[in-house]
């Protein structure tokens, strides 16, 4: 059992009894390794996510031990499955209720682009109504693919600047989707 790889420390200054690095990096590390997921599952991708949460694939290894079914205490919204246009306001409401910082993963073809449901009643990708950070391809994706998507999101979270959510660019992004922001 000696081939266990420990996570790399962020770049910093190390000496006897101390280690100094930037606050951004420390917070990023903490956030990335405790992403509380909010599953928004409507169809078969949700079944794959159940396998991902289960003991075989064990999403908890990545610090996502606690699936939150309240948007207010979660960081990572996982949208899995076909989102009908009638469901769109509900999904948007869930996203708006999440506290900052919040991230979104679109799992599977339907959440990403509408998938095979190219029709008047289905949203052609959730990025029509909320900003998306990571897209996981597949129909449905295997649990490995969902895990890989979450690890790519961890990379984003680790490298996100602490100030990002207060920038005018971020505010403009949210306003593009018609979401009110309270930072000036």
């Amino acid at each position: 059992m000696n081939d266990i790889k420990l996570g790399a420390a962020p770049p910093g200054v190390e000496g006897a009894g101390f280690f100094a690095t930037s606050l951004d990096k420390v917070i990023g590390l903490a956030r990335a390794n405790s992403l509380w997921p909010l599953p928004f599952a409507t169809s078969c991708c949700g079944i794959e996510f159940m396998a991902t949460m289960g003991s075989d694939y064990d999403l908890a290894r990545f610090g996502a031990e606690r699936p939150s079914f309240s948007p207010r205490q979660s960081d990572m919204l996982l949208v899995m499955g076909t989102i009908a246009k009638k469901m769109a306001p509900v999904l948007k409401q869930v996203y708006v209720q999440m506290a900052e910082p919040r991230w979104v993963i679109a799992v599977g073809a339907c959440a990403t682009s509408g998938g095979i449901f190219d029709t008047y009643s289905v949203l052609q990708g959730i990025d029509e109504i909320i900003p998306v950070d990571v897209y996981v391809p597949g129909c449905p994706p295997r649990p490995e693919a969902i895990l890989d998507g979450i690890m790519r999101l961890q990379d984003i979270v680790k490298n996100e600047s602490l100030n990002r959510r207060n920038t005018p660019e971020y505010k403009a992004l949210l306003e593009k989707y018609g979401i009110q922001t309270n930072n000036s």
């Binding site: 246009k85 682009s113 509408g114 029709t119």
Partner: protein
């Protein structure tokens, strides 16, 4: 009394309504008749309340759009007589520009949602319906998606554009 079959049923309807019943056909053993919007409620009421026929169950109300026909919307009623174990289909062709037909909610409360659905997808006005609004589609939809003039696909779809396929 003989067991009620399509022929007896057709005779009963013809003797009661005569010329109002047209174009009778029996595709796949299901008696299919046409009538018009003035008489449809009368015909339905007769089928439901006649002591012998007893078509007490309204299976479905739906519609079909035939853009090439002059009367381009067909409203279709399916009835079922549990007592006689027989079904019947009634069609009413109405004009597609301003489709209007009396509501069957006066006979069956269950017609309420069926007519709302038919309105939702075809834009047919059911006169006398207590609450005719959309039931399945989003409320702010402007199209009646099952009518042929509205595209079935979503216009926002980007990954099926021709230039991705060299067309």
């Amino acid at each position: 009394m003989d067991k009620l079959d399509n022929n007896i049923l057709l005779l009963r309807l013809q003797e009661r309504f005569g010329e109002v019943i047209q174009n009778q056909d029996i595709p796949y053993g299901l008696l299919t008749l046409e009538t018009d919007e003035e008489h449809i409620i009368e015909v339905l009421e007769f089928l439901k309340k006649d002591e012998e026929l007893q078509f007490i169950y309204l299976t479905d109300i739906t519609a079909v759009h035939y853009p090439e026909k002059e009367l381009s919307i067909a409203v279709v009623y399916h009835l079922h007589s549990f007592v006689n174990n027989i079904r019947i289909r009634l069609k009413v062709y109405i004009n597609g520009v301003n489709p209007e037909i009396p509501s069957a909610t006066v006979l069956w409360k269950g017609a309420n949602w069926m007519e709302r659905e038919t309105y939702d997808f075809f834009g047919i006005q059911f006169l006398g319906h207590p609450d005719l609004n959309r039931i399945l589609n989003v409320d702010d939809m402007v199209a009646f998606p099952m009518r042929k003039e509205f595209p079935l696909e979503d216009p926002n779809r980007v990954d099926k554009k021709d230039y991705f396929f060299g067309r």
